[in-house]
Amino acid sequence: MSSYLAVLIFIFAGTGIVLFTFFLARLLRPSNPYPAKTVNYECAEEPIGDSWVMFNPRFYIFALIFVIFDVEAVFLFPWAVAFGQLGLYALVEMVLFILILFFGLFYAWKKGALQWV
């Protein structure tokens, strides 16, 4: 598990380094906030309304489709690693699996879920 310790330590080290540079910048930079400065930039105009709006749901559908395929990828990785030992059975199995998924993709496609906005 020693190698995974590296990942853990890298998470802390990375965060620490970033925070340290922020701290360093804080020492060096000027700071002079005033209301006109901290207003949102919107092409040199006053922002119209809030930007946290009910966004078009289409964006989230992509995420849903992605989740399906990502789960597939999780299955595919061990399959790919072990493919050398498994042979034809695994190949047919995986082709079927991918086909089923693609059936879903085509369904989504025909349903218009892949239309952007």
Partner: protein
């Protein structure tokens, strides 16, 4: 087939940019290398001096002042009551107003004013652009020009406007006073220039 054609066209694009990568840059590295300015290039306005005597060529005829479309030239050259000749007192060019059109140069019959090819005159202060006669002459000392005065004798001076002596008073640009200097932004919600939406 369309796919192959598309890939071919994408590769053509890469070939063109790749081809340029090998070519030499056309950049003129400004402070070290300079673009050779064409002779007619219109840079800053200067006053020309006589090549022999070193005096200004200007006779104070006010033609350039009248020709200027942005009223950047201000000349004070009142007529001497006895000799009826004009005496040049002040000659001011506001380079902040000048629109570099070259009309003053064309209006001048005495080779007295020229748009020299110089162009490097950035200033940290706004007041620096109001050039008086001395400065204009100084800058124009090295400027080469073709003297056309000898062919055009002085009698061709057009009739000056009678009221020029008084009319000139009001064209002194009036924004050069001290309040032009801007105060730094105060850290408070002041938006004086705000427009109502």
């Amino acid at each position: 087939m369309k796919l192959l054609k598309d890939i071919k066209n994408l590769l053509i694009g890469m070939r063109i940019t790749g081809k340029h990568l090998g070519r030499h840059a056309i950049t003129i590295q400004y402070p070290e290398e300079r673009w050779e300015m064409p002779e007619r290039s219109r840079g800053i306005v200067v006053l020309l001096s006589d090549k022999e005597t070193g005096d200004l060529n200007c006779t104070g005829c006010l033609l350039c002042m009248k020709a200027c479309p942005s009223a950047a030239i201000f000349i004070d050259a009142p007529r001497d009551p006895e000799t009826k000749k004009r005496k040049l007192l002040t000659f001011t060019v506001d380079n902040a107003l000048c629109c570099f059109c070259g009309l003053c140069e064309e209006a001048c019959n005495f080779s007295a004013i020229k748009m020299a090819t110089m162009y490097e005159f950035s200033e940290p202060e706004k007041e620096g652009f109001l050039w008086d006669m001395k400065k204009l002459q100084e800058v124009g000392l090295d400027v080469d020009y073709i003297d056309t005065r000898k062919k055009k004798p002085a009698k061709k001076v057009p009739k000056p406007a009678t009221d020029s002596g008084t009319a000139t008073d009001k064209i002194v640009p009036d924004t050069l006073d001290s309040d032009a200097k801007q105060t730094p932004p105060a850290p408070e919600p002041d938006k004086p220039k705000e427009d109502g939406e």
